[in-house]
Structures are given as C-alpha cells and as structure tokens.
C-alpha cells in the first residue's frame, strides 16, 4: 500500500516512541490531533502498525533467567507452498520469538527463547529438527545484547557535552 509522506513520518516517530502524546506528535508533523488519531487508527486497522512493544534490558533483572538462541535452519521447500508452510509450522510454537526467511547459506532464521539451555536444546532436538522439511539446524546462543532494534542497552557517555550557552 502507498503511504503519504506524513503517514511515513508518523510511523517513524512512533516506531521510536509509541507512547508519544498525540498532541505533541501533531505539532511535530504539522497536523491536527484528530488527523493523527485517524491515521494511527487506519494504520492499526491495516496491520501496518502490528503491535506496540517495549524494549526491556532483561539482563538487569536479577530474577530473570531466560536466554535466547538464534537458529539457522535449512529446509526443503515444498511445491506450491514454498517456505511458507514450514515457516508456519515453526512460528506456531510459543518458544519461537521470530522467524525470518533468509538469503544465503541457510533458509530460515529462528529466534527461540527459553528458561534454560536445556529447554532450548530440547526444543531443537524434539520439535524443530524432527520436522519433515528440516534438513539441518545450527544453534547460536546469545551471550549479551549490546544493541537491539537500534537501541543501545548501556550507552556510555551519553550526557550532553555541549556548553550551556553558545553563539
């Protein structure tokens, strides 16, 4: 679908900050507040805006023990449905965070979240690799997140270094 410049601008702003006040957003893109509400509603209805999410640095939470693995999956595509069917079979599992079809050495990139390494290992050996079309899997555990979706988790020296008044 084709979006106007203004709609694109609105999307870019709420992608960075979905909690922004519509009144402020309206000022920023030079629109009426009602126009913003209508546009956002429309984009939600069209499923362009899919969900409002929060980026959380779980590593800072002591009681959190989850871990994430990225799994490269090679599959045999099926006549008529290509990769879609197997992708669907994979993304239906609750453990699966995301599934991407990739170019390059493997076909699907699957991100899996679990409570322990055992849990993830079990998912891979029992559920994922046993699927008919899956040829092979390579599992990579994420050790530390530095930057996620454009956001640096622990920015260093972020304070304003400018002098307070200048010409």
């Amino acid at each position: 679908m084709h979006l106007t410049e203004k709609e694109l601008e609105i999307l870019q702003i709420i992608e960075q900050n979905s909690r922004i006040d519509f009144n402020d957003l309206a000022k920023m893109v030079d629109a009426e507040e009602s126009e913003i509400a209508d546009t956002v509603q429309k984009l939600e209805d069209m499923n362009v805006i899919v969900r409002y999410a929060t980026i959380i640095n779980w590593a800072k939470v002591d009681t959190y023990h989850g871990l994430t693995a990225m799994i490269d999956v090679k599959v045999t595509p099926k006549r008529g449905v290509g990769f879609n069917e197997v992708a669907q079979r994979i993304y239906r599992f609750n453990e699966v965070e995301s599934v991407y079809l990739m170019s390059g050495a493997y076909d699907l990139s699957v991100v899996v979240k679990g409570q322990s390494m055992n849990e993830v290992a079990q998912f891979v050996s029992d559920k994922l690799s046993t699927l008919d079309s899956v040829i092979s899997t390579t599992t990579h555990f994420i050790l530390k997140k530095y930057k996620h979706d454009g956001t640096i988790f622990e920015p260093i020296n972020e304070e304003d270094k400018r002098i307070v008044v200048s010409p």
């Binding site: 601008e9 702003i13 922004i20 402020d24 000022k27 920023m28 893109v29 030079d30 304003d160 400018r162 002098i163 307070v164 008044v165 200048s166 010409p167």
Partner: protein
Amino acid sequence: MIQTSFVSKTIADLKPSGIRRFFDLAVNMEGVVSLGVGEPDFVTSWNVREAAILSLEEGRTSYTANAGLIELRQEIASYMKKRFAVSYQPDSQIIVTVGGSQAIDIALRAILNPGEEVLVVEPCFVAYSPLVTLAGGVAKTIQTVRENEFKLTAAELEEAITPNTKAIIMCSPNNPTGTQLRKEELIEIAKVIQKHNLVVISDEIYAELAYDDDFTSVAAIDGMMDRTILINGFSKGFAMTGWRLGFVCAPKDITEAMLKIHQYTMMCASTVAQYAALEALRNGMNDVEEMRKSYRQRRNYIVKSFNEIGLDCHIPGGAFYAFPSIERTGLSSQEFAEKLLFEEKVAVVPGNVFGESGEGHIRCSYASSLEQLQEAIKRMSRFVEKYK
C-alpha cells in the same frame, strides 16, 4: 601615575559578546534546561569519527596544502555543484578553513581597505561586526523588522548604501531568527548589490538545514558568482562544530588574496578534521537528511508551542533557532532571559545581543531532545503566565 595598558585601543573598544554573560550566569546552575546552545545536539556520525581515528592510525599528522587537502577540495566542489548548483574550481577557488568564522575573517581582511563600510544585516551572528572592525572596516548595521520576519528587503538595503560601502554580510538561514530568504527575495536584493557594485559575504553555514523551501545560494543567482564570497562548513549540517572545519568559495582573485592571509596566519586547517570531513562528504548525506528531518519536527513542535503559550513566533524556515517575541510580558529581552533563568532555570539568549532589532525577542535553540523541549515549554508557559 598615568594608567596605561598594553592592550590595543581597537580591542579595548571592542564590545564583549553578550552571550558570554549568559554563559557565566548559567554555567554553574544545576537543573538548567538550555535552549541557549548554538550547535547541533547530535554527536558527529560514527563513520566520520572512525575515519578521523583511521587517519591518525595511518600517521596522517603533517600539514596539508595551505588551501586544504586537494581531495577534500574536489569533494567540496562536487558537493557544491550537486547540492547547490554552484561551480567552483578546487585548485583556485576553494579554501578549507578553521570553521566558518575564520572564513569570514579572511574574507573581510582580503577585501577591505581602511575605513570602507560593510553592511551587517541584524539580528545576526555576534561575530560579524567585530570581525569587520578587526579587518579595519566600518560596520554599518541594517535593522530588519519582525513584521517582515526579519527578511532584508531591497529597499532597506538601498537606503543603507553609501559611496563608501564595499560589501554586505548576510546569513540565510539566519542565526538567530531562523529566517530563510527565498530565491525571489534574493534576486531583488542581488539587483541592488549589482547596481552598487558591492561584494557579498554570504554565510551559508545553515544551508543544509532548510525545512520548507529549497535553499538557494547567493552565488547561484544570475550575475552574483563574481561578487560572492560563499562561506559554508561542516559544523551545523554535519554536526561537526568541535572539529572547527569550514570552507570558503570565491572568485579567483579574492581566493588568492584570502589564501595569502590564510597561509601566514593559519597555515592550514587541522589535518585530522579534514580527513573526517572527506568521509562526511563521501558517505554522510543520509545522516544529514535524518538530522534535517529531526530538526524540522522539533521546529514544528516548538513554534506551535510558543504560539500556544503566548509567545508570538514566526515560522523559521531554517537553522535550529526559534525567535519568539516576548513583547506581551513587557520585559526587555535581557530581563526576560535573566528572570527566566533564575525563576524557571531555562536558558535562552536575549535577542538584543544579536543587534538592536533583536530586542523584544529571545533566541531559543531547538537542537535538544523532545523531552528537554517539552520541559522548557512547561516552565516557560508558567513564566509567561506570571508576567503577561
């Protein structure tokens, strides 16, 4: 005993910048939200910083040619051509300088004979008049008016010209008003400039930060190339203020004259900064575009908010300053800025430091995060309510 000073009379008589005073007031205060900063809030892009680091690793620590690295001048030439439709020869018409300020300095010194007049269009950047004085000229100000969004008109210019007028310094988009002259307006001004055979020093440092109309360079106006000294640089558009890197483009004879001064006083601009600028021009235009978009949103936000809280503000076409009127409060710009700082801890710059026509206004830089701007508006709203 007679008191004597070793300091020259010219310098002793030079008025200190009014901005300095506000810096001193604000610098040690806790919890200040500053709209007083005349530079981008972006840190220079990583690829540019990385290129500078690489140049140091490779040991590029010697002087460059006086006029700057030839590769950089070539990039500048093609950038100016592509972006602003002006053609300059890299080897004879471009000098890489230590910021735009040094470029203005050598431009003035290259053209002025003692006592010649230079027209300075106010409100404007605080350095123009002092630089004219230091170059041995006489600064004559033209006061633009708010009713006309501080745009210089051909009539105002015509009236200010005397037989002794040599040049005019103008800046669009402007610091502090944010006003940008449109092409038609420039054409009218250019006619007067040509009629009286003046030189223009056109400070185009904010050229990349034009939000509504395409930016037109003075040099791109018919017949102006031969009498324009074009100042530009990396500070504002590329968020590189601290690198101190600008450039000046001019007709050959003037460039040669400026280069004489430059080679004796500066030798060349910082080498590491020149390598950084090379990367900025080669791979930095997407970042410039992103920053421009972000400033534009913040401009829209702050101008609408000012008008809502009772500070009348024209829509500034470029740069990152809003210049609202504070008339309704009945305070002078100095009083307003001082009280606002002490009572609400918001730093702004009083308009009168940019020239007498700036009185009744304050300069508010919106190169700050949206959160900071929101907080500033909240505090200023409270303040204006109290005084109106």
